[in-house]
Amino acid sequence: MTRRQRRFSLIGAALGVLALAIGLVLSALKESIVFFNSPTELVEKHIKPGTRMRIGGLVKEGSISRGEGLAVHFEVTDGTRSVPVGYQGLLPDLFREGQGVVVEGALDSDGIFRADHVLAKHDERYMPKAVADALKKQGHWKDDYERKLGAAPARRAE
């Protein structure tokens, strides 16, 4: 094999693998990504039932009701609109009324969001970024508790 042929076979292999990778990424991006919406966007966009997505907001106060087995119903709100959510299974540790939550699933034909994943915020400092952004946009963002606590950006002791 000449030097040139060797080089070509190398470049050919590289291009082949690269093309494979690009093809895989493009097809996966088309099929397996999930969009995030706030409840308001969900209502306003008239999203078709069955489209997988995530919605995020706060668990509405007084909306949690438990059914048979591990079924649970609650509403996710961004202050303007709320969306009823149905879920079957164990809820995360920090799932509480008035706390941030992200649910993944799809709307059914009755307008209930059937969730198969519920992600609660992880501790009091953490709020899913998408939720925080949505709340900020809707004007319901509570100031960071760091500042509220008054541990005002402390100064170094001289």
Binding site: A13, A21, F36, G69, Y126, R156
Partner: protein, 660 residues
Amino acid sequence: MIAEFGHYALVLAFALALVQASVPLAGARKNDPVLMAVAGPTALAQFCFIAFAFAALIICYVRSDFSVLNVFENSHSAKPLVYKLTGVWGNHEGSMLLWVFILSIFGALVALFGANLPARLKANVLAVQSSIAAAFLLFILITSNPFLRIPEAPFEGRDLNPVLQDPGLAIHPPLLYVGYVGLSISFSFAIAALIDERIDAAWARWVRPWTLLAWIFLTLGIAMGSYWAYYTLGWGGWWFWDPVENASLVPWLAATALLHSALVMEKRDALKVWTILLALLTFSFSLIGTFLVRSGVLTSVHAFANDPTRGVFILGILALFIGGSLALFALRAPMLKQGGLFAPVSREGALVLNNLFLVSACATVFIGTVYPLALEALTGDKISVGAPFFNATFAPLFIPLLVVVPFGPLLAWKRGDLLGVAQRLVGAAAVAVIAVAVVFAMEGGGPILVPFAIGLALYVMAGALTEIVERTGLLRVPLATAFARAEGLPRSAWGAAFAHFGLGITLLGVIGETQWSLERIAELRPGQSISIRRYDLQFDGMATRQGPNYRDLAAHFTVRRHGDFVGVMEPAKRNFPSRATATTQTALMTRGVSQLYLSLGDANPDGSLAVRLYYKPLVLLIWFGALVMAIGGVLSLSDRRLRVGAPKPARSKAALSPAE
């Protein structure tokens, strides 16, 4: 006062870092040995000052000095000592300090053990290393100072995030950081080579052990993080394709590619430009990982930071080092001489293929991680790229790689005999075929991919053994001869075999866990039981236990297999009054390499308890395989030790024969 001393030590370390980043560089340009010699002592001094600062922060934590803001926010006087210590890096400021501390350790190691490096190379390497340290020290001093005081000290701290109050915090971040930051050495060597426009096989021989060391720690760190997530989060997953996890996987894939391409460069003097580029990219991915995790652009389990100034600062560091290094590469790479030739079918060829697949897989993970951020920044659309994306891209790229893995070590350098190698792998292939048939028969239907995946895993493992069997002549020569040959085999051959075998083990665990896991969710009252596979778990009742800074509400389960008592499992809800939060303490029962996994949901008002029970077959193999890979790394490293820094093959006959 100790906090102020720590702060002052950091400032001094920063000043030293500036000296170390400039003086030796100038010395290397002017060929002035005095200026170049500045690098070594300053690297050691810089290490001492940063170590002092780190110790100072530890002392603040141990003393529960709540006048220090960082201690107040992340510690509590009732917290057990081990979490007071680990809490030091369980927050943004402390973990950045750990980051530069490890960076300075590596700098000091090069200064100490680099006595036989050419003076110019050593000076340049230490200067580049120190410029990284300077940038991050400045970052800490300006945006993330852990030694800030509160004017009026509170009585009690706010405690460490309960999720982090776990032995995992003692192990996972330090291991991961040693891996992350250790990659800076190969970066510094690459930049030094570009500055000097000199690169040869000896360079690869110096770089490889450092990369290997970092790779070993990165492997262990990722595995440890995965196991921690598995037992602590309570939903039985061990890998979530979370951006923070990907941020560590991407450098790992790149470092794995670098290890292999540096091998080609060391042995055959080929792939020089590519190896340099890979060394630059690998650490760049580490930096990007640091940026993703530390800047707060992702708010996820690991994100402690929420301050945009930090993000911008790290972005600046990224632009400087990645942009700068790639610009230097573009400028200087054409001047590097190309080395040895090789046929496409050869060990070099196989390693090139390895690099192609690893780098492509690395790129897909990187794209999947960064794309949502880029899209949100550009269009405002929020998307989540989760497991389906990575399964659809990462897996198809990894499968061909796994098929090729056993061929690599069996092929000869320069020009290999594909048919001959294929013949030698017949045994491995036979193992795979039998496995496919057996699994297929056992499954009786189900996804056809599963038996093939199991076959592939066993093929990789058998292929790794094939090399050792071939080289020792096991089965062909008397056992004693084979043992003697096995002892004579270079440690690096054992290292490769172990690493590849470990890869197969991990794969086996991944397939077993993802395909054959069983899940049961139920609501139980005391006396009721739940069964999974051949196990019956009876819920006996609840009990509360008081811990040092928490209270456990533990459920007691008796586990029986076919009616025989096996043991008890006690999952719990752990309440931390200091933070008014609860965590789930899962209970694990190990059966061979499989596990029973039990976590609690909420207790209902009517006295029943929601539980989640998993049977996880082969799950321990996932981490066991990583451990075997790391052992392979250590074996390979112990081989390198004979040659580190010795550009000429200086091993004497005496050194080759085992000591008697």
